[in-house]
Subunit: 364 residues, 2 copies
């Protein structure tokens, strides 16, 4: 069974130009104290003059925009097919008037890249989420017409007020009606003061990336649950980045807090609310980007081994010395799958590629 | 093997009086629209006039301060011994000058309660953390002289700047030298805007309690790791509330983010930093307050089944209708242990009480 990477990003050339043209986050620039390297700054917390240059964003090279690099990475890691997606922050920052055309253009550009590499590249499309819902629904219709599109990628901001925003109703309805999977991915993290006074100077990107990102996903999905999204859209399916953030571990606590909440009981919500465990097994797919067999086993137990799909998060987390062909971040996730299934080859193969091929209807 | 509850709180009478005397968070009051019930308000987010009365704090009854109620709860749930601790927010809010005497008095009061119920009650002591470190160390010495004290409980604020604060060095040194376990427990959660515009009115306490609390613990311990606390104090042991927050699930991602961080590498931190997996197996104990076998198995895999200890979080999460003798929250955690160990009676007994008896040197 070929290996399929469902969590792998690209900033296509037009998006690179957009980032280079900007002077506020998100943007690409060369810093005076790091002149040999263009750096990509996508998080507000990365844009402080007091931050060491080694913590200001990340070096950005051709692996971020070159499909040749993507294919070479895939070859080096024995990945048969990749479902590529625009990386964060997508088009969330665009003026509403500019977003629909930009989304349509980028989706067409990525579709064209996929068409040039049949059986190797598919994609999750980008939505113009700063525009009103009808424009978003129009782009969903466009994406549904693209042969290599297998769903959409979406941040946790939605139309600006989160994924429990009532204005998203027509978007969820359109996605569910077209059976388009929604890849929910973090970008905004947590307010930086959560990490304390030493984090910015001393701890690099560890806390925002290792904790802020998965917590953002966790909160976003919990808000969808509490807001009743899956009660109204039982056919809506989502793929959650980083094995669901922390949901497999926290699902029990979330369910207990719901069951013990006096306000929810008074409002009559307890009877109607979907069980999170049930949502995890019927509406949720998880990637296997969790970097340990401990986390992966929890993900498998929470959603089922037929709902977990291998991913790399390429081109993020490259080797620090830039020389290894085989990336540590990818090796760690491969090793987690091997350990989690401990000799059960068919289960490992399902997670590595079989599930993705079936769920996303890939021609490999 | 008797069952031991290591996560069970009390607000002793003197602390109740203190809360009743206050008019800002934390405090106890009767609201005009909920006149039949005194309510305990401990979180700033709970203190808004626009919040429904059913979401303003929680009803507070004798289960919060009465040792007779604690013992009846223990009997109803087959708990032989409890290691009681002052509940959050402890004495974090006191003026520095008032804190040392208050801590000393409350610790003596709780010690006296334990002495009245031999073999049934032990305690984790309270520190005057708003006072300077020497006063904190003096109270550690006092606690070490109390026969029923088995460690200390501590929030994540430390002396006000988190658990990676250099000013805590003498405190960690004193605790490690006396082999006193530190029960790290959340209180502050996350900034309320993380939960979005609908949370306060619509979702009760679910998001702050189910996600904010465990994430606070996770960040606090990650900061201790990154700040090098266990490099300098290899004998320091901690008990983490709620099975480590989310650490068992996120440990792989945290380790990967450390290994891929250019700033940490440049600073030479990668060679010296303790592995989080190693800390989880040598310096960390986890309670079993995670409400699912999925989370509990991850906790067991992360720290080892000889380091997990049963807990209830009593008197929080009472039955909503107030009538059941056996609490759903406790039954859920008992069931998780039963399912996680699936017939391995000796492992289940170790988690239910054997580990606590050995680790905390309890005379049962």
């Amino acid at each position: 069974m070929p290996t399929v990477d469902v969590h792998t990003h690209v900033y296509p050339p037009s998006y690179m130009s957009l980032l280079r043209s900007r002077t506020t986050v998100p943007y690409i620039r060369n810093f005076p104290d790091a002149p040999d390297s263009a750096r990509l700054i996508i998080l507000p917390g990365e844009d402080s003059a007091s931050t060491p240059s080694t913590s200001r964003g990340r070096p950005i090279g051709p692996e971020y925009h070159s499909i040749a690099h993507k294919l070479a990475f895939m070859d080096a890691h024995h990945i048969a097919a990749s479902v590529i997606s625009l990386a964060n922050p997508w088009l969330d920052f665009l003026e509403p008037a500019a977003a629909p055309a930009a989304a349509s253009s980028i989706n067409a550009e990525i579709e064209s890249l996929c068409a040039q590499h049949p059986t190797r590249l598919y994609h999750f499309g980008t939505l113009p989420l700063s525009a009103p819902a009808p424009a978003v629904c129009a782009e969903i219709a466009h994406l549904a017409s693209l042969p290599h599109c297998r769903g959409v990628i979406m941040g946790t901001s939605g139309l600006g007020a989160g994924l429990d925003d009532a204005r998203l109703e027509p978007v969820w309805a359109a996605l569910a009606a077209r059976e388009m999977l929604v890849f929910i991915h973090p970008h905004y993290g947590l307010p930086s003061d959560v990490y304390g006074p030493r984090a910015a100077a001393d701890y690099g990107h560890v806390l925002p990336l290792a904790i802020g990102f998965p917590v953002e996903t966790t909160v976003a999905v919990a808000r969808m649950l509490l807001g009743g999204v899956w009660e109204r859209h039982p056919a809506l399916t989502v793929l959650l980045a980083h094995s669901g953030g922390t949901l497999p571990f926290l699902a029990g606590r979330i369910e207990s807090c719901v069951a013990h909440d006096g306000h929810l009981k008074k409002e009559g919500r307890l009877e109607r609310m979907r069980s999170l465990w049930d949502v995890l097994k019927r509406n949720v797919y998880l990637d296997a980007v969790v970097y340990s067999e401990v986390g992966l086993r929890a993900a498998v137990e929470a959603s089922g081994q037929d709902r977990i799909m291998f991913g790399t998060d390429h081109p993020f987390f490259p080797p620090l010395d830039g020389e290894e062909t085989e990336w540590l971040s990818v090796k760690t996730n491969y090793a987690a799958i091997k350990k989690a299934f401990d000799g059960d080859e068919s289960a490992a193969e399902a997670v590595l590629g079989g599930n993705a091929a079936r769920i996303l209807k890939l021609d490999l």
